[in-house]
C-alpha cells in the first residue's frame, strides 16, 4: 500500500518536473485554459452578484389591494376577515387612507403639494403577504383578489423582480452554454497536448510494454499530467477572476460613491472555488483519458 502511494507521488513529481521542463508551452497552455474557464465562471460571478442585489431590493413578494373609495368600515372588517381566512395568505396589513397620505408626505418630500390637496385622493389598502413565492401561484392569487367586488385595483408589487429573475435565467442559460462549449475546448487542449506527448514518448512506451508495464502504468503519467494541467488552469482562471473583480470593485467604489450607496462585487465563494478547481482538474483528466485511450493502443512493440 505504501509502495503504491509512493509510486503515485513519484508520478506526480515527475509530472511537475515535466511541466517545469517546458515553461513556455506550459505557461501558454495554462493561460489559454485559464481564459477559457474564466469567461463562463466570470459570467457566473456577475450573475450571482446581480441576484444578490436584486434579492436585497425585492424582499418578499407582496400584493397591494386597493379598495374602492367610500367602502364602509363594516365592509372593510368583513374583507379583512375573509383575507385572514384565505388559505394562500400568510398575513395582512391594513393601511387606512389617512395613514397612507401621512406616509407619502413624510417619505417623498411632497408635503407642500399634498398639503394643497382639497381631499385625500388615496384609497384604503391591504398589503397582503402570500405564503407562496412562485410567480405562478402569486399571479393566481392576484387574479383571485381582482375578482372580489370591493377591490378597485390589485397589484403584484414584486413583479419587476420576477422579470429580473427571468432575465437572470436567460443569463444563466447563456453562461451554461458558454461553459459547456469552453469545457469542450479545455478537453480538446488537453487531448492535443497529451497526443503530442504520446508521440514524442513513443519509444519509451514501446520499451515499457516490452518489459512488462501494464496499461495502467503507462497511462498514469499522462492522466496525472492532464489532471495537474487542468487544476493549474483552473487556478489561473480563479486568479483572472479575482484580479478582475478587484479592479472592477475599485472603479465601482468611485461610481457608487457618487450615488451615496456602496456595494462591492463578491468573489467566488469557497465552495464555488473548490468546484471550479475540481471541475477543471476533472476536465483535464478527461481530455487526457480520451487522448490516451485513443492513441495508446496504436503503440504496440513490433
Amino acid at each position: 500500500m505504501k509502495n503504491i502511494v509512493l509510486q503515485h507521488l513519484r508520478v506526480i513529481r515527475f509530472t511537475l518536473q515535466r511541466l517545469r521542463h517546458t515553461p513556455g508551452a506550459t505557461l501558454l497552455n495554462l493561460i489559454v485554459i485559464g481564459i477559457a474557464l474564466s469567461l463562463p465562471v466570470g459570467g457566473y460571478v456577475l450573475l450571482k452578484n446581480v441576484q444578490a442585489i436584486s434579492e436585497q431590493m425585492a424582499g418578499t413578494p407582496q400584493i397591494s389591494a386597493f379598495l374602492t373609495i367610500g367602502t364602509s368600515q363594516e365592509e372593510i372588517s368583513r374583507i379583512s376577515q375573509q383575507l385572514k381566512e384565505h388559505a394562500a395568505i400568510d398575513r395582512i396589513e391594513f393601511v387606512p387612507r389617512d395613514l397612507a397620505l401621512k406616509q407619502l408626505q413624510q417619505s417623498t418630500g411632497l408635503a407642500d403639494v399634498i398639503g394643497g390637496l382639497a381631499q385625500n385622493p388615496l384609497p384604503d389598502a391591504f398589503i397582503i403577504y402570500p405564503i407562496a413565492m412562485e410567480v405562478k401561484k402569486l399571479e393566481l392569487l392576484r387574479d383571485d383578489l381582482k375578482s372580489w367586488p370591493k377591490f378597485e385595483h390589485v397589484q403584484l408589487d414584486s413583479s419587476w423582480a420576477y422579470k429580473l429573475e427571468a432575465l437572470l435565467n436567460f443569463g444563466r442559460l447563456a453562461v451554461f452554454i458558454l461553459a459547456a462549449m469552453l469545457s469542450f475546448a479545455l478537453i480538446a487542449i488537453t487531448f492535443n497536448t497529451i497526443r503530442l506527448q504520446i508521440l514524442t514518448q513513443r519509444e519509451e512506451i514501446e520499451v515499457s510494454k516490452l518489459i512488462g508495464a501494464t496499461n495502467g502504468f503507462i497511462r498514469r503519467p499522462f492522466l496525472y499530467f492532464g489532471l495537474v494541467q487542468g487544476l493549474l488552469g483552473g487556478t489561473a482562471a480563479w486568479l483572472i477572476i479575482a484580479i478582475s473583480l478587484k479592479l472592477l470593485n475599485y472603479s465601482l467604489a468611485n461610481l457608487t460613491h457618487l450615488y451615496a450607496t456602496s456595494f462591492t462585487l463578491a468573489n467566488l465563494s469557497w465552495s464555488d472555488s473548490i468546484s471550479l478547481l475540481g471541475f477543471s482538474a476533472y476536465l483535464g483528466w478527461l481530455g487526457a483519458w480520451l487522448s490516451v485511450s485513443q492513441h495508446l493502443w496504436q503503440i504496440e512493440p513490433r
Binding site: N3, I4, Q7, V207, S208, K209, L210, I211, G212, P301
Partner: protein
Amino acid sequence: MIKFNQVYKRYPGGHEALKNMSFEIAEGEMVYLTGHSGAGKSTLLKLIAAIERPTSGSAIVKGQNIKSLKGSALPYLRRNLGLIFQDHKLLFDRNAFENVMLPLQICGFDHRESAKRVRAALDKVGLLQREKSNPIALSGGEQQRLCIARAIVNRPSVLLADEPTGNLDTEYSVEIMNIFKSFHQVGVTLLISTHDESILRQFPARSLSLKAGELVA
C-alpha cells in the same frame, strides 16, 4: 519452461514465417537458435515474448498459452522474461542507471531496494563506473551490456536474446557470452539466437536450427 507444439505463424499477405514448429526447452537449459536471417529466429522469439501470437498450434511459456493469453495477463508474463534486443532499445533521454531502473519502477519496487539491484546488475555487466552516462555515449558493446543489465535486473527466470553479438567484434562477443554463461550457471533458462559460428564452437550448447521457417535440427 517453453513448449511449442505444431506452431504456425502466418502473416497477413500469406507469408509463412514459421511452419510446424515443435520443440521443448527445459528449465535451466541453454539453447541456441541458429539459421540465416529470414529463417524465422526473430519471429520465434517474438512468439515466446507474446509480441506476436501464433496463427495455430500451442506455444506454452511458463505454463501460459500464448495464443489465448489475455492482454491483461501479458505484462506479468513479460516480467518473468528478460528480453535482449539486437538494437538494444535503450532510452536516450535518461542515463544508464535510469534505463536499468525502468523494469523495477514498472514492477513497483521500493526505491532504495531498486537502487541496490540496479547497481548489482550494472556491476554484473561491468558498467558500474558508467551509471551516470547517457547510453548514446556508450560503445556498441557497452550498449548491449546495458541492455542485458536491464533484462536481468528483475531477476527473470528466462532470458531471450535476439542476436546479442550481431554487430560486435569477437572480443566483445566473448565478453557477452561469458556473462550469459554465468547466468546459465545460476539456473537461468537461456534462448540465444545467433548466426556466429565461432560462438557456437566456443560455448557449446544445444542448437535449434531454423531454415525457411522450419526446424531442421
